[in-house]
């Protein structure tokens, strides 16, 4: 399984990753980060195709993506 991880200490809640994820598995959550921003939750990790759209557009470099077996 591929793995996408959002670092809530870096995220500023701009929503770009949510907008460009082709699988629509990122969702701006209702929980605020320690910095006061809403940050994206991964709603369906298994559906991630590791396309890197989210990591490519994230201004903060808050998203790390790893490819599973």
């Amino acid at each position: 399984m591929n793995e996408v991880k959002v670092n809530d200490k870096l995220c500023k809640g701009c929503g770009y990753c949510v907008h460009y994820c082709p699988k629509k598995i990122l969702e701006l959550g209702k929980v605020r980060s320690s910095k006061g921003h809403f940050y994206p939750a991964v709603t369906d990790q298994e559906a991630c195709i590791a396309c890197l759209m989210c990591a490519t557009i994230c201004p903060e470099g808050a998203i790390e993506v790893a490819k599973g077996e």
């Binding site: 200490k9 500023k12 809640g13 929503g15 770009y16 590791a50 890197l52 759209m53 990591a55 490519t56």
Partner: protein, 246 residues
Amino acid sequence: MEQLYKRPKCIQPMQSGYCPGCLHSLATRITAEVVEELEQQNNCILVLPVGCSTMGLLYWKIDMVGSAHGRAPAVATGVKRCSKNSLVFTYQGDGDLAAIGLAEILSAANRGENYTVLFANNSIYGMTGGQMAPTTLEGQKSTTTQKGRDPLTTGYPMRMCELIATLDAPKYVARFSLHDPANVRKAKAGIKKAFETQLAGGGFTFVELMINCPTNWGLTPLDSLTYMVENTIPVFPLGVYKDVEV
């Protein structure tokens, strides 16, 4: 598991100082990635201007010099001439480069100084609260053009790539945009090409990056990307304006 994306190490492991959704932050991130891909993190000198990008002084972990407003190309000239083997680049906003610094940038480009200028164009003075820049669009509202920019009194949007491409000395002049992932990849390749040209001793390279200023445009981050596609990019066409084999 194979790590496909990891954040570059030559920027601080913290949030940048830019507003949420500000593409200055993304421009910095991809430039940092290129610096690391070329293994230049210990061999580069960034000359920062005055503008929101001055916040790079707190974010980058590479050697830097701050310069007076608009004078980054003059400072970079001195830096590069004294340190010929370093990768030297400026990262300037449109108010800095196209207004107060117009003479410096055109003269440095015309001399063919062997460094790279990264030009972040958000068609406004971001740092000072949203005044008109030479790059502000016709009809675009700013604090100094409250009814929208009127060319009869304030002129037309100034296109820096096109101007610089008319000069003989520059080797690579191109405009990219950072509003979607595909364009971010192209921009990254453009920055890499400019840096490689410089490292090969090629001469002056200029890469314009179309960015946003959600805060002073008065738009949400996502709406600011739509504004770029519908309004800014048609006035500043993307593409390579000059590419001389070196």
